[in-house]
Amino acid sequence: MRARMDLPAGRARVFVAGTVVFSWLMLSSLSPAVSAQGIDIPKLLDRYSAADYAAARVADGGDPDRFVQAVERNASRWISAGEDVPSRRLIAAAFALEAAESLLQSPRRILYRRLFEWARLQVRPLPPSDRLTAWHLAAVSLLMRAEDWPMLGGSGEAKSGHLAHARAAAPDEARFLLAAAVAEEGRGTGSRRPPLAGNPSDAGLERLASRYAGLASIPAIAAEARLRHGVTMLRLGKTEAALADFAEAGRMTTDPHVTHVGELLSGLVHERGGRPGEALRHLRRALDIVPGAASATALAAALLIADGQAEEAAVLTEVVFARSAAAEDPWRLYASGDGRLWPAHVAQLRRVLR
């Protein structure tokens, strides 16, 4: 990253001291707009552009409301303070994305949208490039992580969601095509329960199935599209077609998220079909792929206990609790699509901005 704030040290000290005194005088009774000045966004952006990414973690003890106001008011000064304004725009937009992501698990989660909107405005004038595509990949994975389907795919009056911009910037990016279908799936689901209550006459689900069937011909996303086609088949009550999809998806990839979920849902179909032995065979495979995944373990444990094999159930269950709190269950991440790819996408974004 080349962006730096060129402020003489003396002036910087005076500026900072002035800001501190001003903030101290005005605190408590101050309007939010004024108190936002207590956060030095240009300094945070300098740190971020120098690869100190912790500068974007607004949720770590700061005041999110003031932080967002400060970004909205002051970040543009930082952007225009250097020569390479397009690069500085992208850096500031990346900073805002990371700050937005840090808010997702906080009580002020709602603010993430304001940061996202601000970031989107910064990148809108930029011409297509690999760096811009990297930003859009991270942005799309953030919206999916938040399961914010209206922002992602558009809805109601706001027909144009963020994906329209991402696809305009990178028309050949297959993940954006898959994301559009996942957004449609997310809008129609409303629940994370396994979709076994089939509705064979749902025209929307038929359209979604056609969409995934088409996407399954694109190599980069074929396995995921096939898996999601299978899930849609389950929603349509077509369990045999779903089982075939899960098996095919498993043959197409080694991605543990895809293969694990395929085995888990195959196990669930067999369990509901009264074939516990077959169900356990799939569930054991699922747990070989991702040991301790909570959903597959719960189903396997229930089947084992019903079969009098409580000892094996207990052994499997202890693996769940031996994992770290952050350990992932691929089924729990299924609904949020590329949300699981946020760490990878943001790492790539940081690399291209360097």
Binding site: Q105, S191, R192, R193, P194, L264, L268, A294, S295, A296, T297, A298, L299, A301, A302, I305, A306, D307, G308, Q309, A310, E311, A313, A314, V315, L316, T317, E318, V320, F321, A325, D329, W331, R332
Partner: protein
């Protein structure tokens, strides 16, 4: 409760295939536990056949208490209450008792491992967030390893709503019937609830273990104390099944034979699984 009685105390054990069966029995007269009952005051039926009670075990049997907290918003009050109640909970335990704390939202986590010395705080680990997988969490809790010679009580604080489990409440009820633990559900007084039939199944699941369902009071630790005291006041009957199959599901019925027993409420597990299979 069906436990192997004699074994090294620190090694986990699992569902027994032995012929000895232990049954937790709570006897109440109105809201008060009935104390002082003797072995001769009970009758136990296994698959409808009367059984000889070998022993009324002393109440000093050590207890493993699992507190399971629903981390979704409507049970936040209970969680806040527990954050400052470690001392109260520690005070409930005898030196030989142990406690652990688990929580769940989208997935389950163990906040505090099983310990006889909980220390000043329960919540060193962050609480999970996201959707609510109540059914999965109940099964994963009930499926955990048992320890020989100890009684296991699971007290789950929840609003009863489930938005994300792979398992349904029918499966929870099926697992609970076969669990060695006694499950007690403490339902949040407000917040979203499961559909009535799901709540009914959850209630049946808890009752099948010899546990029950109660509404949470303002102080979750106070509710826990009531449940824990009831559990500690309950009797543990041991019998060796006779004249019944050595495998499959066995229904259990317990009666109190004293002349004034008509006014008593008897709560005991509804059955056990012997030698595997259903």
């Amino acid at each position: 409760m069906a436990l192997r009685v004699a074994a090294a105390p620190q090694q986990p054990t699992f569902r027994t295939r032995t012929s000895v069966v232990l049954v937790d029995v709570l006897v109440r007269d109105g809201s008060r536990p009935v104390r002082g009952l003797q072995k001769a005051d009970f009758q136990v039926f296994d698959e409808g056949f009367p059984q000889q009670i070998d022993e009324l075990l002393p109440e000093q049997m050590p207890i493993d208490l699992t507190i399971l907290l629903d981390a979704s918003g409507s049970t936040a009050g209970a969680i806040e209450s527990f954050k400052t109640s470690a001392a109260k909970v520690s005070g409930m335990l005898r030196p030989e008792d142990r406690v652990r704390v688990m929580a769940f939202a989208t997935g389950p986590v163990e906040l505090m491992r099983l310990t006889a010395d909980p220390g000043p705080q329960f919540f060193a680990a962050p609480l999970p967030t996201g959707a609510t997988s109540l059914n999965d969490a109940l099964v994963l809790t009930l499926a955990r390893a048992r320890y020989p010679g100890r009684r296991h009580l699971v007290v789950a604080y929840t609003d009863g709503a489930d938005t994300a489990s792979v398992l349904d409440t029918v499966m929870v009820a099926r697992v609970a019937r076969r669990s060695d633990a006694v499950l007690h559900l403490v339902l949040a007084a407000d917040g979203p609830r499961s559909p009535a039939d799901a709540l009914r199944l959850l209630r049946e699941a808890a009752e099948s273990t010899g546990g029950g369902v109660s509404e949470s009071s303002k102080d979750a630790a106070v509710t826990l104390r009531q449940v824990f005291d009831d559990f500690r006041e309950s009797y543990v009957l041991r019998y060796t099944p006779a004249d019944v199959s050595s495998t499959g599901w066995h229904s259990i019925a317990v009666r109190v034979t004293r002349p004034d027993a008509d006014r008593y409420t008897v709560r005991a597990r509804k059955g056990y699984s012997a030698g595997g299979g259903s």
